[in-house]
Protein backbone atom coordinates (compact mmCIF):
# COMPACT_ATOMS: atom_id res chain seq x y z
CA UNK A 1 0.00 0.00 0.00
CA UNK A 2 1.04 3.52 -0.52
CA UNK A 3 0.98 4.53 3.10
CA UNK A 4 4.01 4.99 5.34
CA UNK A 5 4.29 3.47 8.78
CA UNK A 6 3.79 6.03 11.53
CA UNK A 7 6.65 5.71 14.01
CA UNK A 8 7.76 7.82 16.89
CA UNK A 9 4.41 9.55 17.07
CA UNK A 10 2.78 7.50 19.81
CA UNK A 11 2.94 10.34 22.30
CA UNK A 12 1.57 12.86 19.82
CA UNK A 13 -1.24 10.50 18.81
CA UNK A 14 -2.14 9.88 22.44
CA UNK A 15 -2.15 13.58 23.25
CA UNK A 16 -4.18 14.37 20.10
CA UNK A 17 -6.88 11.97 21.18
CA UNK A 18 -6.82 13.47 24.68
CA UNK A 19 -7.13 16.96 23.20
CA UNK A 20 -10.18 15.84 21.18
CA UNK A 21 -11.84 14.14 24.13
CA UNK A 22 -11.03 16.96 26.57
CA UNK A 23 -13.61 19.12 24.84
CA UNK A 24 -16.29 16.49 25.44
CA UNK A 25 -15.39 16.10 29.11
CA UNK A 26 -16.76 13.37 31.32
CA UNK A 27 -19.39 11.15 29.74
CA UNK A 28 -21.72 9.55 32.26
CA UNK A 29 -25.13 7.92 32.33
CA UNK A 30 -26.81 11.28 33.06
CA UNK A 31 -25.46 12.78 29.85
CA UNK A 32 -26.44 9.75 27.81
CA UNK A 33 -29.94 9.84 29.27
CA UNK A 34 -30.21 13.56 28.50
CA UNK A 35 -29.13 12.98 24.88
CA UNK A 36 -31.69 10.20 24.49
CA UNK A 37 -34.53 12.27 25.91
CA UNK A 38 -33.68 15.56 24.22
CA UNK A 39 -32.80 14.36 20.72
CA UNK A 40 -35.22 11.59 19.67
CA UNK A 41 -35.08 12.57 15.98
CA UNK A 42 -31.29 12.36 15.97
CA UNK A 43 -31.36 9.06 17.85
CA UNK A 44 -33.74 7.71 15.21
CA UNK A 45 -31.51 8.92 12.39
CA UNK A 46 -28.43 7.31 13.90
CA UNK A 47 -30.23 4.02 14.63
CA UNK A 48 -31.48 3.86 11.04
CA UNK A 49 -28.06 4.52 9.53
CA UNK A 50 -26.36 2.16 11.99
CA UNK A 51 -29.03 -0.43 11.21
CA UNK A 52 -29.16 -1.18 14.93
CA UNK A 53 -32.21 -0.35 17.03
CA UNK A 54 -31.27 0.49 20.62
CA UNK A 55 -31.89 4.10 21.71
CA UNK A 56 -29.58 3.99 24.76
CA UNK A 57 -26.63 2.76 22.72
CA UNK A 58 -27.36 5.33 20.00
CA UNK A 59 -27.38 8.07 22.67
CA UNK A 60 -24.10 6.76 24.07
CA UNK A 61 -22.55 6.71 20.61
CA UNK A 62 -23.66 10.30 20.00
CA UNK A 63 -22.32 11.41 23.39
CA UNK A 64 -19.00 9.67 22.80
CA UNK A 65 -18.68 11.07 19.27
CA UNK A 66 -19.63 14.56 20.43
CA UNK A 67 -22.48 14.56 17.90
CA UNK A 68 -20.37 13.55 14.88
CA UNK A 69 -22.95 11.41 13.11
CA UNK A 70 -20.50 9.37 11.04
CA UNK A 71 -18.40 8.56 14.10
CA UNK A 72 -21.55 7.59 16.00
CA UNK A 73 -22.75 5.30 13.19
CA UNK A 74 -19.28 3.73 12.95
CA UNK A 75 -19.22 3.07 16.72
CA UNK A 76 -22.63 1.37 16.54
CA UNK A 77 -21.84 -0.67 13.42
CA UNK A 78 -18.63 -1.85 15.09
CA UNK A 79 -20.34 -2.67 18.41
CA UNK A 80 -23.03 -4.59 16.56
CA UNK A 81 -20.43 -7.09 15.37
CA UNK A 82 -19.87 -8.16 19.00
CA UNK A 83 -23.44 -9.42 19.26
CA UNK A 84 -24.73 -12.80 18.10
CA UNK A 85 -27.67 -13.01 15.69
CA UNK A 86 -30.39 -14.71 17.74
CA UNK A 87 -33.27 -14.80 15.31
CA UNK A 88 -34.98 -13.35 12.28
CA UNK A 89 -38.34 -11.87 13.17
CA UNK A 90 -41.52 -12.29 11.14
CA UNK A 91 -41.72 -9.76 8.28
CA UNK A 92 -43.42 -6.49 9.25
CA UNK A 93 -46.48 -5.81 7.14
CA UNK A 94 -47.86 -2.35 6.56
CA UNK A 95 -51.40 -3.12 7.70
CA UNK A 96 -50.05 -4.44 11.04
CA UNK A 97 -48.16 -1.27 11.95
CA UNK A 98 -49.27 0.63 15.08
CA UNK A 99 -49.69 3.85 13.12
CA UNK A 100 -48.97 7.34 14.50
CA UNK A 101 -48.97 9.31 11.27
CA UNK A 102 -50.29 8.47 7.85
CA UNK A 103 -50.81 10.94 5.05
CA UNK A 104 -51.12 11.05 1.28
CA UNK A 105 -50.31 14.06 -0.88
CA UNK A 106 -51.65 12.35 -3.99
CA UNK A 107 -55.13 11.36 -2.81
CA UNK A 108 -57.39 13.40 -0.52
CA UNK A 109 -59.71 10.61 0.46
CA UNK A 110 -57.76 7.51 1.33
CA UNK A 111 -59.26 4.49 3.05
CA UNK A 112 -58.77 5.08 6.78
CA UNK A 113 -58.39 8.83 6.32
CA UNK A 114 -55.47 11.19 6.77
CA UNK A 115 -53.83 11.47 10.17
CA UNK A 116 -51.18 14.13 10.61
CA UNK A 117 -49.72 12.61 13.77
CA UNK A 118 -46.66 14.28 15.32
CA UNK A 119 -45.41 16.84 12.78
CA UNK A 120 -44.23 20.42 12.32
CA UNK A 121 -45.47 20.39 8.69
CA UNK A 122 -47.91 23.26 9.16
CA UNK A 123 -46.21 24.94 12.15
CA UNK A 124 -44.29 28.22 12.30
CA UNK A 125 -40.59 27.63 12.70
CA UNK A 126 -39.56 30.21 15.27
CA UNK A 127 -36.47 30.01 17.41
CA UNK A 128 -37.54 30.19 21.07
CA UNK A 129 -34.90 32.69 22.11
CA UNK A 130 -36.71 33.32 25.41
CA UNK A 131 -35.25 30.03 26.59
CA UNK A 132 -31.80 31.66 26.60
CA UNK A 133 -33.22 34.45 28.80
CA UNK A 134 -34.22 31.90 31.42
CA UNK A 135 -37.84 31.44 30.33
CA UNK A 136 -38.41 27.75 29.55
CA UNK A 137 -40.37 26.75 26.47
CA UNK A 138 -43.30 24.59 27.59
CA UNK A 139 -45.28 23.03 24.71
CA UNK A 140 -49.07 23.00 25.06
CA UNK A 141 -50.42 19.52 25.71
CA UNK A 142 -52.45 17.64 23.08
CA UNK A 143 -56.20 17.73 23.63
CA UNK A 144 -57.07 14.10 23.01
CA UNK A 145 -60.05 13.15 20.87
CA UNK A 146 -63.01 11.45 22.54
CA UNK A 147 -62.40 8.30 20.54
CA UNK A 148 -59.17 6.52 19.75
CA UNK A 149 -57.76 6.30 16.24
CA UNK A 150 -57.63 2.76 14.85
CA UNK A 151 -54.28 1.23 15.79
CA UNK A 152 -53.88 -0.18 12.28
CA UNK A 153 -54.51 1.61 9.00
CA UNK A 154 -55.20 -0.12 5.69
CA UNK A 155 -52.57 -0.15 2.96
CA UNK A 156 -53.19 2.51 0.30
CA UNK A 157 -51.08 0.58 -2.21
CA UNK A 158 -53.22 -2.53 -1.68
CA UNK A 159 -56.34 -0.44 -2.40
CA UNK A 160 -54.71 1.03 -5.53
CA UNK A 161 -53.78 -2.45 -6.72
CA UNK A 162 -57.37 -3.59 -6.20
CA UNK A 163 -58.53 -0.58 -8.26
CA UNK A 164 -56.08 -1.40 -11.06
CA UNK A 165 -54.29 1.94 -10.55
CA UNK A 166 -50.91 0.32 -9.95
CA UNK A 167 -49.39 -2.96 -11.06
CA UNK A 168 -49.78 -5.90 -8.71
CA UNK A 169 -46.86 -8.21 -9.48
CA UNK A 170 -47.11 -11.77 -8.23
CA UNK A 171 -44.90 -12.23 -5.19
CA UNK A 172 -42.88 -15.25 -4.26
CA UNK A 173 -42.92 -16.35 -0.64
CA UNK A 174 -39.40 -16.30 0.81
CA UNK A 175 -38.58 -17.84 4.19
CA UNK A 176 -37.19 -15.18 6.58
CA UNK A 177 -33.79 -16.90 6.75
CA UNK A 178 -33.60 -16.92 2.95
CA UNK A 179 -34.10 -13.16 2.58
CA UNK A 180 -30.91 -11.74 1.00
CA UNK A 181 -28.86 -10.00 3.71
CA UNK A 182 -26.26 -7.32 3.03
CA UNK A 183 -24.63 -7.89 6.40
CA UNK A 184 -23.62 -11.35 5.17
CA UNK A 185 -23.15 -10.96 1.42
CA UNK A 186 -21.83 -8.27 -0.89
CA UNK A 187 -23.94 -5.76 -2.80
CA UNK A 188 -23.73 -6.75 -6.47
CA UNK A 189 -25.40 -5.22 -9.53
CA UNK A 190 -28.01 -5.45 -10.84
CA UNK A 191 -29.02 -5.57 -7.17
CA UNK A 192 -31.69 -7.86 -5.80
CA UNK A 193 -34.65 -5.74 -4.68
CA UNK A 194 -34.18 -7.00 -1.12
CA UNK A 195 -30.59 -5.70 -1.22
CA UNK A 196 -31.65 -2.36 -2.67
CA UNK A 197 -34.28 -1.78 0.02
CA UNK A 198 -31.98 -2.96 2.84
CA UNK A 199 -29.21 -0.71 1.54
CA UNK A 200 -31.59 2.28 1.41
CA UNK A 201 -32.79 1.49 4.95
CA UNK A 202 -29.15 1.71 6.19
CA UNK A 203 -28.12 4.63 3.99
CA UNK A 204 -26.92 8.09 4.92
CA UNK A 205 -29.84 10.52 5.25
CA UNK A 206 -27.90 13.50 3.89
CA UNK A 207 -26.59 11.57 0.92
CA UNK A 208 -30.02 10.25 0.05
CA UNK A 209 -31.50 13.74 0.30
CA UNK A 210 -28.84 15.13 -2.03
CA UNK A 211 -29.40 12.53 -4.71
CA UNK A 212 -33.17 12.37 -4.18
CA UNK A 213 -33.41 16.17 -4.34
CA UNK A 214 -31.39 16.20 -7.56
CA UNK A 215 -33.93 13.76 -9.04
CA UNK A 216 -36.84 15.88 -7.76
CA UNK A 217 -35.37 19.03 -9.35
CA UNK A 218 -35.17 17.40 -12.74
CA UNK A 219 -31.94 15.40 -12.85
CA UNK A 220 -34.02 12.23 -12.73
CA UNK A 221 -36.70 10.77 -14.92
CA UNK A 222 -39.78 10.82 -12.66
CA UNK A 223 -41.18 13.58 -10.45
CA UNK A 224 -42.47 12.19 -7.15
CA UNK A 225 -45.72 12.82 -5.32
CA UNK A 226 -46.06 11.24 -1.87
CA UNK A 227 -48.51 8.41 -2.28
CA UNK A 228 -48.35 7.46 1.39
CA UNK A 229 -46.08 8.46 4.24
CA UNK A 230 -46.29 6.56 7.48
CA UNK A 231 -44.66 6.83 10.90
CA UNK A 232 -45.44 3.83 13.04
CA UNK A 233 -44.30 1.25 15.53
CA UNK A 234 -43.70 -2.33 14.40
CA UNK A 235 -43.99 -5.37 16.62
CA UNK A 236 -40.84 -7.50 16.70
CA UNK A 237 -42.48 -10.91 16.37
CA UNK A 238 -40.18 -13.75 17.41
CA UNK A 239 -40.63 -17.46 18.11
CA UNK A 240 -40.65 -19.12 21.55
CA UNK A 241 -38.73 -22.44 21.77
CA UNK A 242 -42.14 -24.18 21.87
CA UNK A 243 -43.06 -22.58 18.54
CA UNK A 244 -45.36 -19.82 19.81
CA UNK A 245 -44.95 -16.53 17.96
CA UNK A 246 -45.07 -13.43 20.17
CA UNK A 247 -44.05 -9.78 20.18
CA UNK A 248 -40.83 -8.99 22.06
CA UNK A 249 -41.74 -5.29 21.89
CA UNK A 250 -42.16 -2.45 19.42
CA UNK A 251 -39.69 -0.39 17.40
CA UNK A 252 -40.28 2.87 15.52
CA UNK A 253 -40.26 2.61 11.74
CA UNK A 254 -41.00 4.99 8.88
CA UNK A 255 -41.94 4.23 5.32
CA UNK A 256 -42.85 6.16 2.19
CA UNK A 257 -44.26 5.43 -1.21
CA UNK A 258 -43.92 8.04 -3.93
CA UNK A 259 -45.76 7.91 -7.21
CA UNK A 260 -45.67 9.25 -10.74
CA UNK A 261 -47.51 8.50 -13.93
CA UNK A 262 -46.01 5.37 -15.44
CA UNK A 263 -45.69 4.51 -19.14
CA UNK A 264 -48.11 1.58 -19.03
CA UNK A 265 -51.19 3.66 -18.20
CA UNK A 266 -50.78 2.88 -14.52
CA UNK A 267 -49.14 4.73 -11.66
CA UNK A 268 -45.55 3.80 -10.82
CA UNK A 269 -44.55 3.57 -7.16
CA UNK A 270 -41.21 3.86 -5.38
CA UNK A 271 -40.71 2.56 -1.85
CA UNK A 272 -38.35 3.12 1.06
CA UNK A 273 -38.48 2.31 4.79
CA UNK A 274 -36.07 2.61 7.69
CA UNK A 275 -35.75 1.98 11.40
CA UNK A 276 -36.72 5.08 13.40
CA UNK A 277 -38.76 8.08 12.28
CA UNK A 278 -36.99 9.90 9.45
CA UNK A 279 -39.26 11.39 6.79
CA UNK A 280 -36.64 13.09 4.64
CA UNK A 281 -34.79 9.81 4.32
CA UNK A 282 -37.73 7.66 3.26
CA UNK A 283 -39.18 10.22 0.82
CA UNK A 284 -35.73 10.66 -0.77
CA UNK A 285 -35.16 6.90 -0.84
CA UNK A 286 -38.56 6.20 -2.38
CA UNK A 287 -37.81 8.86 -5.03
CA UNK A 288 -34.54 7.10 -5.88
CA UNK A 289 -36.35 3.75 -6.04
CA UNK A 290 -38.98 5.28 -8.35
CA UNK A 291 -36.31 6.72 -10.65
CA UNK A 292 -33.99 3.72 -10.72
CA UNK A 293 -35.96 1.67 -13.24
CA UNK A 294 -35.26 3.85 -16.28
CA UNK A 295 -32.02 5.47 -15.11
CA UNK A 296 -29.23 6.01 -17.64
CA UNK A 297 -25.90 4.37 -16.81
CA UNK A 298 -23.80 6.62 -14.59
CA UNK A 299 -26.64 8.97 -13.65
CA UNK A 300 -27.21 9.85 -9.96
CA UNK A 301 -30.51 7.95 -9.95
CA UNK A 302 -28.93 4.77 -11.25
CA UNK A 303 -29.07 2.13 -8.53
CA UNK A 304 -25.33 1.43 -8.51
CA UNK A 305 -24.58 5.15 -8.22
CA UNK A 306 -26.91 5.96 -5.34
CA UNK A 307 -26.44 2.77 -3.34
CA UNK A 308 -22.63 2.89 -3.45
CA UNK A 309 -22.48 6.58 -2.61
CA UNK A 310 -24.95 6.68 0.29
CA UNK A 311 -23.38 3.98 2.47
CA UNK A 312 -22.41 6.17 5.46
CA UNK A 313 -19.47 4.21 6.88
CA UNK A 314 -17.85 3.52 3.54
CA UNK A 315 -18.42 7.03 2.19
CA UNK A 316 -17.27 8.92 5.29
CA UNK A 317 -14.41 6.48 5.85
CA UNK A 318 -13.17 6.87 2.29
CA UNK A 319 -13.41 10.64 2.53
CA UNK A 320 -11.49 10.98 5.78
CA UNK A 321 -8.87 8.39 4.88
CA UNK A 322 -7.38 11.02 2.60
CA UNK A 323 -6.15 12.74 5.76
CA UNK A 324 -3.85 9.82 6.46
CA UNK A 325 -0.24 9.89 5.22
CA UNK A 326 -0.14 9.46 1.44
CA UNK A 327 3.49 10.48 1.07
CA UNK A 328 4.50 7.51 -1.07
CA UNK A 329 1.68 7.91 -3.59
CA UNK A 330 2.13 11.64 -3.63
CA UNK A 331 5.90 11.25 -4.03
CA UNK A 332 5.17 9.02 -7.01
CA UNK A 333 2.96 11.78 -8.48
CA UNK A 334 5.75 14.28 -7.93
CA UNK A 335 8.22 11.97 -9.63
CA UNK A 336 5.90 11.63 -12.61
CA UNK A 337 5.47 15.41 -12.72
CA UNK A 338 9.23 15.92 -12.63
CA UNK A 339 9.71 13.30 -15.31
CA UNK A 340 7.16 14.98 -17.56
CA UNK A 341 8.71 18.38 -17.08
CA UNK A 342 12.17 17.01 -17.74
CA UNK A 343 10.97 15.41 -20.95
CA UNK A 344 9.17 18.57 -22.06
CA UNK A 345 12.05 20.93 -21.27
CA UNK A 346 15.47 19.35 -21.58
CA UNK A 347 17.09 22.32 -19.81
CA UNK A 348 15.00 21.22 -16.75
CA UNK A 349 13.75 23.64 -14.15
CA UNK A 350 14.11 23.04 -10.44
CA UNK A 351 11.12 21.53 -8.64
CA UNK A 352 11.22 22.22 -4.91
CA UNK A 353 11.73 19.09 -2.84
Amino acid sequence: MAYVATRGGARAIDQAERLYRAELGQIDATRVDAVRRALPMLIDRVMGEASLYEPDLAALALAQAGGDLYEAVLLLRAWRTTQPRLAIAEPVRQEQLFTHRRISAAFKDIPGGQILGPTLDYAHRLLATDVLQGRPYCPAPVTPAAIAAPAHQPSLAAWQKAQGLVADPARTEVAPDAIPDLTREPLLFPAKRAHTLQSLARADTGGMLTLGYAAMRGYGNAHPTVNELRLAEAEVRVTHPRGTVFSAGRVKVSQAEVTSKGKSGQLSLGFCATLGWNEVKVISGATLDLNAAAAPKGSPVEEEFFLYHTEPVEASGFCIHFKLPHYVTFQSSLDALRGAKTAAAPQSEQVPT
Binding site: T119, P169, A194, V238, T244, F246, F271
Partner: protein
Amino acid sequence: MFDQAKTDDPPLDHGRLLDVLARADAARLMALAETLLSLLGAVEVVQSRTGLVMLPMRDTVQGTDFHLGEVLVAEAHLRATGGEGYGMIVGRDLERAMAMAVVDAAIACLGQTPAISAFLQSEAAAQAAADTECLRAIEATRVDMETF
Protein backbone atom coordinates in the same frame (compact mmCIF):
# COMPACT_ATOMS: atom_id res chain seq x y z
CA MET B 1 -58.03 1.45 37.44
CA PHE B 2 -55.74 -1.49 36.70
CA ASP B 3 -56.75 -3.43 39.80
CA GLN B 4 -60.22 -3.84 38.34
CA ALA B 5 -59.06 -6.87 36.33
CA LYS B 6 -60.93 -9.95 37.43
CA THR B 7 -59.09 -13.18 38.10
CA ASP B 8 -62.02 -15.17 36.66
CA ASP B 9 -61.28 -13.84 33.15
CA PRO B 10 -60.40 -16.68 30.73
CA PRO B 11 -56.69 -17.55 30.71
CA LEU B 12 -54.63 -15.91 27.99
CA ASP B 13 -53.25 -18.15 25.25
CA HIS B 14 -49.48 -18.60 25.18
CA GLY B 15 -48.82 -16.05 22.41
CA ARG B 16 -50.94 -13.38 24.04
CA LEU B 17 -49.46 -13.89 27.50
CA LEU B 18 -45.93 -13.66 26.08
CA ASP B 19 -46.93 -10.37 24.36
CA VAL B 20 -48.14 -9.06 27.71
CA LEU B 21 -45.07 -10.25 29.63
CA ALA B 22 -42.63 -8.75 27.11
CA ARG B 23 -44.31 -5.37 27.47
CA ALA B 24 -45.08 -5.59 31.21
CA ASP B 25 -43.93 -2.94 33.67
CA ALA B 26 -40.37 -3.93 34.65
CA ALA B 27 -40.69 -3.44 38.40
CA ARG B 28 -44.01 -5.27 38.68
CA LEU B 29 -42.78 -8.12 36.45
CA MET B 30 -39.64 -8.59 38.54
CA ALA B 31 -41.64 -8.48 41.77
CA LEU B 32 -43.93 -11.25 40.47
CA ALA B 33 -40.94 -13.32 39.30
CA GLU B 34 -39.38 -13.06 42.78
CA THR B 35 -42.48 -14.58 44.34
CA LEU B 36 -42.62 -17.40 41.75
CA LEU B 37 -38.95 -18.39 41.80
CA SER B 38 -39.18 -20.24 45.12
CA LEU B 39 -42.08 -22.34 43.75
CA LEU B 40 -40.03 -23.61 40.80
CA GLY B 41 -37.39 -25.50 42.77
CA ALA B 42 -33.99 -25.93 41.15
CA VAL B 43 -33.68 -23.85 38.00
CA GLU B 44 -31.01 -24.14 35.32
CA VAL B 45 -30.21 -21.00 33.34
CA VAL B 46 -29.81 -22.20 29.75
CA GLN B 47 -29.27 -18.75 28.31
CA SER B 48 -29.04 -15.13 29.49
CA ARG B 49 -27.60 -12.77 26.89
CA THR B 50 -28.15 -9.86 24.61
CA GLY B 51 -28.17 -10.34 20.86
CA LEU B 52 -29.64 -9.22 17.58
CA VAL B 53 -32.95 -9.95 15.93
CA MET B 54 -33.08 -9.09 12.25
CA LEU B 55 -36.37 -7.38 11.41
CA PRO B 56 -37.65 -7.96 7.87
CA MET B 57 -40.36 -5.83 6.27
CA ARG B 58 -42.57 -6.35 3.25
CA ASP B 59 -42.27 -3.77 0.48
CA THR B 60 -45.73 -2.52 -0.48
CA VAL B 61 -44.86 -2.02 -4.15
CA GLN B 62 -43.56 -5.43 -5.25
CA GLY B 63 -44.23 -7.46 -2.11
CA THR B 64 -40.51 -8.12 -1.59
CA ASP B 65 -39.44 -9.04 1.94
CA PHE B 66 -36.22 -7.21 2.87
CA HIS B 67 -34.21 -6.59 6.02
CA LEU B 68 -35.03 -3.27 7.66
CA GLY B 69 -32.28 -3.57 10.28
CA GLU B 70 -31.37 -5.32 13.50
CA VAL B 71 -32.99 -4.84 16.90
CA LEU B 72 -31.03 -5.40 20.10
CA VAL B 73 -32.88 -7.76 22.41
CA ALA B 74 -32.29 -9.42 25.77
CA GLU B 75 -32.95 -13.16 25.90
CA ALA B 76 -33.36 -15.59 28.82
CA HIS B 77 -34.03 -19.31 28.76
CA LEU B 78 -34.63 -21.37 31.91
CA ARG B 79 -35.12 -25.03 32.62
CA ALA B 80 -37.08 -26.02 35.74
CA THR B 81 -38.13 -29.49 36.87
CA GLY B 82 -41.64 -29.19 35.46
CA GLY B 83 -40.95 -27.24 32.28
CA GLU B 84 -39.02 -24.51 30.50
CA GLY B 85 -39.37 -20.76 30.47
CA TYR B 86 -38.32 -18.25 27.84
CA GLY B 87 -38.14 -14.50 27.70
CA MET B 88 -37.16 -12.09 24.95
CA ILE B 89 -37.62 -8.35 25.14
CA VAL B 90 -36.58 -5.44 22.95
CA GLY B 91 -33.69 -3.65 24.67
CA ARG B 92 -30.75 -4.62 26.89
CA ASP B 93 -32.45 -5.41 30.18
CA LEU B 94 -31.34 -8.95 31.03
CA GLU B 95 -33.19 -8.88 34.35
CA ARG B 96 -36.48 -8.10 32.65
CA ALA B 97 -35.93 -10.94 30.16
CA MET B 98 -35.05 -13.30 33.02
CA ALA B 99 -38.16 -12.25 34.97
CA MET B 100 -40.26 -12.96 31.86
CA ALA B 101 -38.65 -16.40 31.55
CA VAL B 102 -39.36 -17.13 35.24
CA VAL B 103 -43.04 -16.27 34.83
CA ASP B 104 -43.23 -18.30 31.59
CA ALA B 105 -41.60 -21.26 33.38
CA ALA B 106 -44.01 -20.89 36.28
CA ILE B 107 -46.95 -20.98 33.86
CA ALA B 108 -45.48 -24.10 32.19
CA CYS B 109 -45.05 -25.80 35.59
CA LEU B 110 -47.98 -24.49 37.61
CA GLY B 111 -50.44 -23.11 35.07
CA GLN B 112 -51.97 -19.64 35.28
CA THR B 113 -52.31 -19.45 39.06
CA PRO B 114 -54.62 -16.73 40.48
CA ALA B 115 -51.61 -14.49 41.16
CA ILE B 116 -50.23 -14.93 37.63
CA SER B 117 -53.64 -14.56 36.05
CA ALA B 118 -54.35 -11.37 38.01
CA PHE B 119 -50.97 -9.98 36.95
CA LEU B 120 -51.55 -10.80 33.27
CA GLN B 121 -55.05 -9.30 33.24
CA SER B 122 -53.89 -6.20 35.05
CA GLU B 123 -50.87 -5.66 32.77
CA ALA B 124 -52.96 -6.34 29.65
CA ALA B 125 -55.45 -3.71 30.84
CA ALA B 126 -52.64 -1.22 31.55
CA GLN B 127 -51.14 -1.81 28.10
CA ALA B 128 -54.52 -1.41 26.40
CA ALA B 129 -55.12 1.81 28.36
CA ALA B 130 -51.70 3.18 27.30
CA ASP B 131 -52.47 2.36 23.65
CA THR B 132 -55.89 3.99 23.89
CA GLU B 133 -54.42 7.14 25.41
CA CYS B 134 -51.82 7.29 22.63
CA LEU B 135 -54.42 6.67 19.90
CA ARG B 136 -56.77 9.37 21.28
CA ALA B 137 -53.93 11.89 20.91
CA ILE B 138 -53.30 10.58 17.38
CA GLU B 139 -57.01 10.83 16.51
CA ALA B 140 -56.89 14.52 17.50
CA THR B 141 -54.66 15.07 14.45
CA ARG B 142 -57.08 13.60 11.88
CA VAL B 143 -57.76 16.01 9.01
CA ASP B 144 -60.28 16.24 6.23
CA MET B 145 -58.34 17.42 3.22
CA GLU B 146 -61.53 18.76 1.53
CA THR B 147 -61.82 21.42 4.19
CA PHE B 148 -58.20 21.60 5.27
